[in-house]
């Protein structure tokens, strides 16, 4: 089977987010860039399916040169090859623009399953997966926590998390899956894996290579425009609940919640 994983590089979740002057972007100095956590589940699932059915796992990233680090991490986990689309015209591209680039790459490849993380933990849009599926005209199953592939590798049964339950969704391949935490336990890259990854193919493509007009992407092509970024509202400082004993504190808290906060 040919399995593709769309991968994003994001600031580590430990990062304190600071807004840059001009309020349109964040301060990126000293940020530790990592593979998007949801993409780790996507890569792991792709590897497991390949190991069972044979075939290849190809990682596709879009962004500046630093994104090769995240792609190399996926290669070190065991993926076979990588493709990075890097082009100065991509700065300021929105979700739909990124999806167009990914779809253009994917249309040039053979594939049975396309994986994405359910969302990037940076911009939190969570729409690139369904955008790509639509542009490829293939079915999608999002927020998947369990995936079964039929023995003849023609169909999938995907367990999709919904509020208060799970939908078990069946689809024929090719299909696009977005990975949710719980899908699997991603492996760590081993030292031999890291060494091997250095020799695995990683192609870098430009928009021209893909036949994409620069006007379709970047800030100019974006359908969503950022007006400003703001920090979260400060919360008023709280109260320490008094009491000599745990029981007294609990009783005071209960009445504060009832009388003052009107929350219970």
């Amino acid at each position: 089977m040919n399995i593709l994983v769309c991968l994003k590089q994001v600031p580590d979740t430990e990062t304190q987010i600071r807004i840059a002057p001009g309020s349109k972007s964040i301060v990126t100095d000293n940020i530790k860039w990592v593979m998007n956590p949801y993409d780790e589940y996507a890569v792991e699932e792709a590897l497991r399916i390949r190991d069972k059915f044979g075939g290849e796992v190809t990682i596709i990233g879009v962004g500046p040169q630093r994104v090769t680090e995240a792609i190399r991490t996926a290669l070190a986990m065991g993926a076979d090859k990588g493709i990075l689309v890097d082009d100065p015209a991509l700065v300021g591209t929105d979700s739909l623009g990124i999806a167009k680039v990914l779809a253009a790459v994917i249309k040039g490849l053979e594939y049975d399953i396309v994986f994405c993380g359910k969302q990037g933990v940076d911009d939190d849009y969570g729409v690139v997966g369904s955008n790509v599926a639509e542009l490829l005209n293939i079915p999608q199953v999002s927020v998947v926590v369990k995936l079964e592939v039929s023995d003849d590798a023609s169909r999938i049964k995907a367990h999709k998390e919904v509020e208060g339950g799970t939908y078990v969704v069946e689809a024929s391949l090719p299909a696009l899956i977005t990975a949710q935490k719980g899908l699997n336990e991603p492996r760590y890259a081993s030292l031999p894996g890291i060494m091997k990854a250095k020799k695995k193919p990683l192609d870098v493509k430009t928009l021209a290579d893909l036949g994409i007009d620069a006007g379709e992407v970047g800030e100019g092509g974006a359908k969503i425009q950022v007006v400003e970024l703001t920090p979260p509202a400060e919360r008023a400082s709280g109260k320490l609940v008094e009491g000599e004993t745990p029981e007294e504190k609990a009783a005071n808290l209960a009445s504060l919640l009832r009388e003052e906060a009107k929350a219970i």
């Binding site: 979740t13 369904s130 799970t166 078990v168 007006v227 320490l240 745990p246």
Partner: protein, 327 residues
């Protein structure tokens, strides 16, 4: 010219979900500033009788798409029907819930219609007839205010539990019409084979009015019964921090935070949670936050409206008891 605000109502098993009323209420407020009508799309099977409820919350018109293949949400069927109705009716703005369904559908629709979508918004306003949406990024460590370009309609999803519901007005009613659409079986590439309900009919964290969450301080999975008793007394849903989930004490679906669920309940009670930055991002928009922790220097106290320094295994059962006595 495109005009009017449309919302996609959400139903499960033929019952309207709360987000539907939140969407209609917010659409009503925005439409009033524009002087334009609110239209709700209602998709389902034998669903028409539910249309009147949407009118009471402020919808002027409800377009019903009734088909047995729309009984349970699938991306293919819903994207097909909603895009046909939208292309025929040309609304300026289309709002959906930032639910699992709404997030899935909005992305597919946006690509089909070639327009922008602002996901998981917590505030809307209209300027010069255009939607201005505010949405958390980095799970709430910052907020982005965004507008649209070349997008008809401008699509956005609204975070559940954030937008105020109008009081239903029994005297109001909506015009109910049958939507015109065609749906071919060949379009339906996915099928929901099974719907598994979580045991106990627990309210999902993203929709819960109250949440009681436990972290590393719970010391093990068996002690979550202490939180469950409190949750039971105040009709809350039990959540967990990432460390509790990664330790295998609670299922992944219970995790609150940057790589879990981002929640905004009326009341969030954090027990034995120190308050890692990823966790604080995920629950920071809760209306009232309570922290119960042994460590007075725990970062969670910076976010808390009410802090209790103490042993959760003493404080929480006493709190449960105190609340039970209050009723």
């Amino acid at each position: 010219m495109a005009q009017g605000i449309w919302i996609v109502a959400e139903q499960r098993e033929g019952e309207l979900r709360k987000i539907s009323f939140e969407l209609v209420s917010e659409a009503r407020r925005l439409a009033d500033t524009l002087g334009q009508p609110v239209t709700a799309l209602l998709l389902g099977s034998n669903i028409k009788e539910k249309a009147a409820e949407l009118g009471k919350y402020g919808a002027d018109k409800v377009i019903v798409a009734d088909d047995e293949r729309l009984a349970t949400y699938t991306t293919d069927a819903y994207a097909s029907v909603v895009s046909q109705l939208v292309q025929a009716g040309e609304p300026a703005i289309l709002l959906l819930g930032a639910s699992v369904q709404g997030k899935d559908l909005s992305g597919r629709l946006a690509a089909r219609l070639g327009v922008g979508v602002a996901q998981d918004c917590v505030d809307f306003k209209v300027e010069n007839g255009n939607l201005v949406a505010k949405r958390p990024i980095y799970a709430g460590k910052a907020y982005a205010t965004v507008t649209y370009k070349n997008s008809v309609p401008q699509i956005a999803t609204a975070r559940p539990n954030v937008f105020q519901m109008n009081e239903p007005d029994e005297s109001k009613s909506a015009e109910v019409v049958d939507g015109q659409f065609s749906l071919d079986d060949s379009e339906l590439k996915t099928k929901v084979a099974e719907v598994v309900q979580e045991a106990g009919g627990k309210v999902d964290l993203t929709e819960a009015e109250r949440i009681v969450s436990g972290g590393r301080g719970m010391k093990g999975p068996e002690h979550f019964t202490v939180l469950e008793a409190l949750a039971d007394a105040i009709e809350a849903t039990v959540g967990a921090s990432r460390s509790a989930v990664d330790a295998g004490w609670r299922p992944h679906g219970d995790q609150v935070g940057q790589t879990g669920k981002v929640v905004s309940p009326n009341l969030y009670i954090a027990c034995g949670i120190s308050g890692a930055i990823q966790h604080l991002a995920g629950m920071g928009t809760s209306k009232v936050i309570v922290a119960i922790n042994k460590d007075p220097d725990a970062p969670i106290f910076q976010k808390a409206d009410y802090g209790v320094v103490g042993d959760l295994f003493e404080v929480v059962p006493a709190l449960t008891e105190a609340i039970r006595k209050m009723t």
